[in-house]
């Protein structure tokens, strides 16, 4: 009985906060847009009954998603941006994590602090700060012009480059922290053993360190990839008219176009796409836990 309660509470919580809203979204995705409060029909009413209500629902909005190329192009656009920025974040984050894990014991707490420090400022404000840095007359262009590297200001803000810079900047700590914790736990005598057995330092790194930090790398990649895929703030503030990301499209359908049924259909499809990496991530976590036991 006690065990049942223990399981029932978190599951009740999940049911209330995930499944119920999800079904509301699915329901709206089967409705039609209207100028009314709220902005879609049919509304459920007890007078007409559930039969009429269900008859008025259709899959028109999902069909529409397939006819307009904007949607799949945005899904693909988000996927490309998420994959590339995850890769770049790994490329930058790994050496940082490695350096931290190999730093003298007494420095590590401070280094860790420095990674977490940016979280003390609002995410939104940090992205706004990047607008000031990357704009045509911004700090970066002024600096580059001053040093004489360029003679004409570069257009970075409102392009995809700015989106990459924003995502890498914002999600770097999520890559560094899991890799750091994996490297930190690693037994360094294994490297010595590899070197004793004739490995060069580089081969020892590839054959011993990287495989042992594999779980940290996978966790870091998922922690960057999943939010980057649905990212809305960074592409809308730093991106330009050419930036196609599904999070932005979703927001626009919902707020600017006031097309809630279509926005809900986009959200349902996005969720289905995201479920795949999330399940993979879960499975990896589970395996890791089993391996540790």
């Amino acid at each position: 009985m006690r065990r049942f309660l223990l399981i029932a509470i978190p599951f009740g919580w999940l049911l209330a906060l995930f499944l119920v809203p999800f079904f509301i979204v699915v329901k709206i995705s089967l409705s039609d847009v209207a100028v009314s409060i709220p902005p879609y029909v049919p509304q459920f009413s007890w007078e007409t009954g559930i039969g009429t209500f269900l008859r008025d629902l259709d899959f028109e909005n999902f069909v529409f998603l397939t006819t307009d190329s904007l949607y799949w192009k945005s899904y693909v656009g988000s996927l490309v941006i998420a994959v590339i920025s995850t890769f770049l974040t790994l490329l930058i984050g790994y050496p940082i994590a490695y350096g931290m894990a190999r730093a003298p014991e007494e420095w590590r707490a401070t280094l860790m602090m420095l990674i977490i420090l940016p979280f003390w400022t609002s995410f939104l404000i940090r992205i706004y700060a990047w607008m000031g840095i990357l704009s045509r007359e911004g700090l970066l262009n002024q600096f580059l012009m001053w040093t004489g590297v360029i003679s004409e200001p570069l257009t970075i803000l409102n392009t995809n480059y700015a989106v990459y810079i924003g995502i890498i900047y914002a999600y770097l700590p999520f890559m560094v922290l899991p890799i750091y914790s994996a490297l930190d736990r690693m037994d360094t005598s294994l490297i010595e053993a590899a070197e004793d057995l004739g490995c060069s330092r580089l081969t020892a790194f590839w054959l011993v360190t990287v495989p042992l930090s594999r779980n940290g790398i996978i966790a870091g990649c998922f922690l960057v990839f999943i939010p980057a895929l649905g990212e809305f703030v960074i592409p809308s503030l730093l991106g330009g008219s050419g930036t196609l990301m599904i999070g932005k499209v979703l927001w626009e359908e919902f707020s600017s176009n006031r097309d809630w049924p279509l926005a809900s259909a986009v959200a349902v499809v996005l969720l289905l796409i995201l479920v795949v990496p999330i399940v993979l991530f879960q499975r990896n976590q589970q395996k890791q836990q089993e391996a540790e036991q």
Binding site: S36, I37, E137, N158, S241, V249, S255, S256, N257
Partner: protein, 361 residues
């Protein structure tokens, strides 16, 4: 009313030592008021004012139609107001609580009655035109001294836009204003209500979209003022505010506003009270405060938009009432056009068109 009862109950419960402060929540356009007026309202009435801003009619409409926005006063543009009244989003004004209504300008009220018959739901806040904000020096550098800075050709002729792209162009993210402008450029009726005519705007906009750096309705003020962009298709007063910010910063940037000679859109932003406003009483007090001649003049002097308040005109600064970009001459007014809301079907066509233009697919 509910809130008053609560206040009373709280006051009684705590022996009158602590009373819940009355609160009015206002949702207005960004960069659209002299903030000193907000302080003044709180001092004069003792009511707490919560003031939030938006930069898109569409976003406001979504909030209104979702219901329960929690705002007491909102400021949609006439065309949107008309549609939202039909959806039942607003409550009728209690004119007995608005003695300052007598200050309003009959000429403007006649025009706003087009959206709100009898002006029963709304009072005009500001009105203005949509046109060309130009960094005069940079545009002259790129297009030469004879650049068509007072013509729609500046932003709708791809030959001009290709060159301007190097110094940066922003368009409003407002399909209800950009599509009529594109139609005007090709000689169609900007107030067209049929899907076929509206579809003609697509070719015009798609031809220039590769050269548009961003579609956004408020960033262009600072971008113009800082010299980050050289042309913005934007709102009259916003461009004039950019002109002032550049002058204050003394950064050598010179900004000018021109209503396109082919014709410019004239719009009216209307203050209205949502049907589910938590404090309609306070909302009326706020409206009456804003309609005070001196307060309205202070707002216009600050944001460089014309208002619909006749009595305020004697308090307006000379560079506001005397500027034909703000208070156009009768001759210019003839060249301005207004638009009416699209029906649901045409709306979806326009929305698709606009999404296509913004995303390029």
């Amino acid at each position: 009313m509910h809130r008053h009862t609560l206040t009373l109950a709280a006051a009684l419960a705590l022996g009158g030592t602590l009373a819940m402060a009355e609160e009015v929540r206002v949702y207005n356009w960004s960069d659209y008021i002299d903030e000193e007026l907000l302080t003044k309202f709180q001092e004069e009435t003792g009511i707490d004012l919560v003031y939030d801003v938006f930069d898109s009619n569409e976003v406001l409409e979504t909030k209104m139609l979702a219901g329960g926005s929690g705002y007491d006063v909102v400021v949609p543009t006439g065309t949107f107001l008309q549609r939202q009244i039909q959806a039942g989003a607003f409550q009728k004004l209690d004119k007995s609580k608005l003695p300052n209504l007598s200050n309003m300008w009959d000429v403007i009220m006649e025009r706003t009655a087009q959206y709100d018959p009898g002006n029963e739901y709304s009072v005009n806040y500001m009105w203005g035109t949509t046109g060309l904000g130009v960094n005069t020096k940079k545009v002259a550098e790129v297009l030469g001294e004879n650049a068509p800075i007072d013509s729609l050709a500046l932003v709708f002729d791809p030959a001009n836009m290709e060159k301007l792209a190097s110094c940066g162009v922003h368009f409003l993210d407002a399909p209800t204003e950009m599509i009529p402008a594109a139609l005007k450029y090709i000689g169609e009726n900007p107030d067209a209500q049929d899907a076929e005519t509206i579809a003609k705007a697509e070719a015009v906009l798609m031809a220039v979209r590769p050269y548009v750096q961003k579609f956004h309705s408020s960033e262009y003020i600072n971008a113009l003022a800082n010299g980050d962009i050289c042309v913005a298709f934007g709102w009259s007063g916003d461009v004039l505010q950019a002109r002032d910010r550049a002058a204050e910063a003394d950064n050598g940037v010179e900004i000018a506003y021109n209503a396109p000679k082919e014709g410019a859109l004239m719009w009216f932003d209307m203050m209205a009270i949502p049907a589910d406003a938590p404090n309609p009483d306070g909302a009326h007090k706020f409206l009456n405060f804003i309609m005070d001649a001196q307060n309205m003049a202070a707002a216009s002097n600050y944001v460089y938009y014309a208002n619909g308040n006749k009595a305020s005109q004697e308090f307006l600064a000379e560079d506001v009432i005397g500027d034909p970009a703000i208070y156009p001459s009768e001759e210019t007014v003839k060249n301005l056009y207004t638009v009416s809301p699209w029906d649901a079907k045409v709306q979806r066509v326009a929305t698709r068109l606009w999404t296509k233009v913004k995303s390029g697919t």
